[in-house]
Symmetry: C2
Subunit: 185 residues, 2 copies
């Protein structure tokens, strides 16, 4: 394989890339308030919550996978737009984030033990060490855009992250947010 250059466009798209679009209907299970989900789907139709622009890199050991993520601003009930969140299938692999635009939170959690909440956004770097599941929440009024890089053979485990949750809900307030512990976490 030879070296490659791709373009990072002002909105956050990588060109060329593989584009993943996450609509509310497919990620509805991450939200507490299912009535609010139903109301949105009924009254607005489906909603684009976030997009991932994935660099064209082999999913093989030694390679470094990378993407940008664009989380649009908004809420579902009183919860902010956020990513599904995942563990790496190879649990012992890390991930690094570089915030390009907007304001958010990085939620981290291990399979055993506590969760962690970090402020993240434009001008901040986030480091997700091995063994921590990670989810990103847009707590601002503009898109949250960030670059991420991780070992390309890490894989994704969404199922365990969905089952365990992230231990905490991020609730919108008029002037910011409040963290609320999830029951049983």
């Amino acid at each position: 394989m030879e070296g490659l250059v791709a373009h990072l466009l002002p909105h956050g798209q990588i060109e060329p890339s593989l584009v993943l679009r996450r609509y509310l209907s497919e990620i509805r299970g991450i939200y507490r308030d299912q009535e609010a989900v139903n109301k949105i789907l009924r009254e607005e139709g489906d909603r684009l919550v976030y997009e991932v622009y994935l660099g064209e890199v082999p999913e093989a050991e030694g390679h470094v996978a990378y993407c940008t993520t664009v989380i649009y601003p908004g809420t579902v009930g009183d919860e902010f737009h956020m990513t599904k969140g995942h563990f790496h299938a190879r649990r012992d692999t890390a991930e690094v984030y570089l915030g390009l635009r907007g304001k958010g939170l990085l939620l981290l959690r291990r399979e055993q033990g506590p969760y962690q909440v970090l402020e993240f956004g434009a001008g901040l770097l986030g480091y997700v060490p091995p063994f921590w599941a990670h989810r990103t929440v847009n707590i601002g009024d503009e898109p949250l855009v960030f670059f991420a890089a991780w070992p390309a053979d890490a894989g994704h485990d969404y199922v365990t992250a969905e089952r365990l949750g992230f231990g905490v809900f991020v609730r919108r307030l008029l002037d910011g947010y409040r963290l609320e512990e999830a029951l049983g976490s």
Copy 2:
């Protein structure tokens, strides 16, 4: 290890980080024109060519090392400021670059076979696949600033890169640059 957040400052510094400063006197061997090096050292004193802000990450398998690099604009003789360049000690590891400011070139070379030259800078992503040595050249009039991420256990091999060179010199012209093949490459 828990998750961490670091700041990316406007100039390109990561805070906190380990700072490596590369002065002309220590990297003089990468330049063709040793008379020009001597003249600069005699007339200006030593010169800061580039800085690396290295994130505080263990150099262990599964971790992702990251840094920003700031290459100041300038020339040594008719060659632009550039990094020393290196292979990874673990040759089968890649690296991804995100250009934040300025204008440059990414020089790549395998131990056997051809070299490659890619345009790189603000708004561009560069991918260095496994087995390629990599060097970055500032061909603009402002600092070239970029973010990089790679497998934290990759290691650095500067010696082989210095012995082989990158196959090509990047020579400053009044209105741009010219590539000149190195002898014996």
